[in-house]
């Protein structure tokens, strides 16, 4: 951790706040929601309007999908980005989407407000350098086999290229437990807080892989000090082309947001006691 020149805190109070079209990540509770992948215009625009109504402040959606099997749905590519942009405009939400190929970075930046580096690409250093030169904030997911130190060094790659706006995202790591898709490492949140000034959000959808666990783990993440959440939501999860089992319905999502705001208020009160 001694080489984290830009990632580590210079003083106890330092905190990076990233303004994405008025959403202040690192300051206000940030709720990113939307489908795993962009499938059709009706699906993505419909979901966007629903999550906006439910209290999301950023829209997610994948156009380039890194899939385990080459035969699985790979995403709609550029056409998917256009649909996501349309959904963003119609709902008034900024958009975040994953980029998996360094050659796509400049094109994704034409559409997206935040670019995402997925867990599988966390240590794809040429991709990190490319987004490090982009003029859009980067959400960096933690690799499923990565230590905190390895993860923060990847953030350092982006910062060292000149892009100061990195958001960390904990999404669960591989353990011997198989009941959940991954083991969501909530202990990493206060650790990140102690070491770096970068905001951190949590992905309970991939972190658990189970719809019924999304709510308790979301609340726990906020309690542990996360700046926000990224939650997969689909207007019709059973018809989703990928990761339907971990997607919330718009109704479940809206209910969860209400509870998250109560938790957020509570955490802020507790933090005030320490000051």
């Amino acid at each position: 951790m001694n080489k984290l020149r830009l990632t580590s805190k210079s003083d106890e109070k330092q905190k990076t706040i990233i303004d994405v079209k008025g959403v202040k990540i690192g300051e206000e509770l940030t709720i990113i929601a939307g489908p795993c992948s962009v499938e059709t215009e009706a699906q993505v625009v419909g979901t966007a309007l629903e999550v906006k109504k439910g209290g999301a402040n950023i829209l997610r959606g994948g156009a380039f999908k890194p899939r385990t099997s080459p035969y699985d749905f790979q995403g709609l590519g550029l056409a998917g980005l256009k649909l996501l942009k349309k959904a963003g405009i119609e709902s008034g939400l900024p958009i975040i989407t994953e980029v998996i190929d360094p050659r796509d970075v400049s094109w994704v930046c034409e559409y997206a407000d935040i670019v995402q580096i997925g867990a599988r690409n966390m240590q794809n250093f040429s991709l990190l350098q490319e987004v490090g030169r982009a003029d859009k904030p980067v959400l960096l997911k933690r690799g499923m086999h990565s230590t905190l130190s390895e993860w923060l060094n990847c953030a350092e790659y982006i910062l060292s290229e000149g892009n100061p706006n990195v958001i960390l995202c904990e999404r669960g790591i591989r353990t011997f437990e198989t009941y959940t898709r991954n083991t969501l490492d909530l202990g990493v949140i206060p650790s990140v807080r102690n070491i770096t000034h970068l905001p951190i959000v949590v992905d309970p959808s991939h972190g658990t892989g189970r719809r019924e666990l999304v709510e308790p783990m979301s609340l726990a993440a906020i309690a542990a000090g996360a700046d926000g959440l990224i939650i997969e939501t689909h207007i019709c999860p059973d018809e989703a082309r990928c990761d339907g089992a971990q997607s919330l319905t718009p109704e479940m999502f809206a209910k969860l947001v209400t509870k998250l705001h109560i938790m957020d208020k509570c955490v802020r009160e507790i933090n005030n006691l320490d000051q």
Partner: protein, 356 residues
């Protein structure tokens, strides 16, 4: 399995391209046939039809049978005669199909048949000679300034301005279907379009390649498909040449607008909200000022003042202003302008529309 799929896909891409070419040629054939009505008395000429069919069926081969050729051409003749007997209204524009002028023409009146012309002078001549009912020409662009060539032609033409339309110009990045956006390196377009997208081209690391016309660049891309290339043109050009839009609205500033004039042989019927005049003044101190003063005194808002060099040492002026001819105030000013200028001509009172 994989090879077969790729082959079928590439064959289908080729077929789509050929169909697109057939449609373009049919369009051109109908346009030429429609123009021919200006030069002939009777629409039907069975002798000519027979000789065309005879000529074409003579080229029969294993894949192209004589009765098929005959069938296709009988259909074409039928449709060609139908459009010749119809009184469709023709509007000439400069450039290839898909030009921004054609887009403006469609916005002005979607029932008009837009007819492409190579040069501005072809539009003026064609309308004067009665080949076309209207001509639509750009006069000024917010980023590029006035279109000098058009003003020069207006000066010595008898045509009237019967309408005007202001349209936003949105550029699209176009590729041939199936092109991977990651492989694009060069962008072909008119120098003005290239300069309006300079920041975008820089961000995407694309080399700007100058071409005489935006729609022409799209057409060239569709026909020749040079490696690693794209074109910058209108969305209309994309549909006309069967190209894919990689990204729309790629212009750096959203203040890119062009004003077009609609020209005809006769003045516009009814009243409008805009008038245009042209005149020359003697080369003496204060003469132009005096003319402008006439408008100022009556509180008439001038919306365009262009000057173009005329005879050596002389300048012609173009004035557009808000108002209409039935207004006695306007009539009074124009009478006075005529008295104090040489070569005065009233270009028209017309409706100006804004699509912004």
């Amino acid at each position: 399995m994989k090879d077969e799929k790729i082959n079928l896909e590439s064959v289908r891409n080729k077929i789509d391209q050929i169909d697109n070419n057939i449609l373009q040629l049919l369009q051109k054939r109908m346009e030429v046939a429609r123009i021919s009505t200006v030069f002939k008395k009777d629409i039907e000429d069975t002798g000519r039809e027979t000789s065309i069919i005879q000529n074409l069926t003579g080229r029969e081969n294993a894949l192209l049978k004589a009765d098929f050729i005959e069938g296709v051409y009988k259909q074409i003749f039928l449709e060609s005669k139908r459009i010749q007997s119809e009184t469709s209204t023709l509007a000439a524009f400069q450039g290839e199909h898909g030009a921004y002028s054609e887009l403006a023409c469609r916005m002005w009146d979607p029932t008009l048949a837009p007819m492409p012309c190579e040069e501005f002078i072809d539009i003026f001549k064609g309308v004067e000679e009665g080949v076309y009912d209207y001509g639509i020409v750009p006069v000024e662009n917010t980023l590029g300034g006035m279109v000098g060539q058009v003003n020069g032609l207006m000066l010595y033409s008898d045509l009237f301005v019967v309408g005007a339309i202001k349209t936003p110009i949105h550029h699209c990045l176009l590729v041939t279907p199936g092109t991977d956006h990651r492989n694009i390196r060069r962008a072909y377009s008119h120098p003005q379009a290239l300069s309006q997208c300079r920041e975008f081209l820089k961000r995407q690391n694309l080399e700007p390649m100058r071409f005489f016309d935006t729609a022409g660049a799209a057409k060239m891309l569709a026909e020749k498909n040079p490696a690693s290339s794209c074109a910058i043109a209108s969305s209309l050009a994309a549909s006309y040449y069967n190209l894919e839009i990689v990204k729309d609205n790629i212009e750096d500033l959203n203040t890119n607008q062009t004003r077009f004039l609609v020209l005809a042989k006769e003045p516009a019927p009814g009243t409008g909200n805009k008038c245009s005049i042209t005149f020359t003044t003697d080369n003496r101190a204060g003469l132009l000022f005096h003319v402008l003063q006439l408008f100022a005194d009556k509180n008439i808002n001038l919306t365009r003042i262009d000057s173009v060099p005329d005879q050596p040492g002389e300048f012609a002026f173009f004035l557009d202003f808000d108002g209409n001819l039935t207004d006695p105030k306007v009539q009074d000013v124009l009478d006075k302008v005529e008295e104090s200028t040489t070569r005065y001509r009233f270009l028209g009172c017309y409706e100006e529309r804004s699509m912004l």
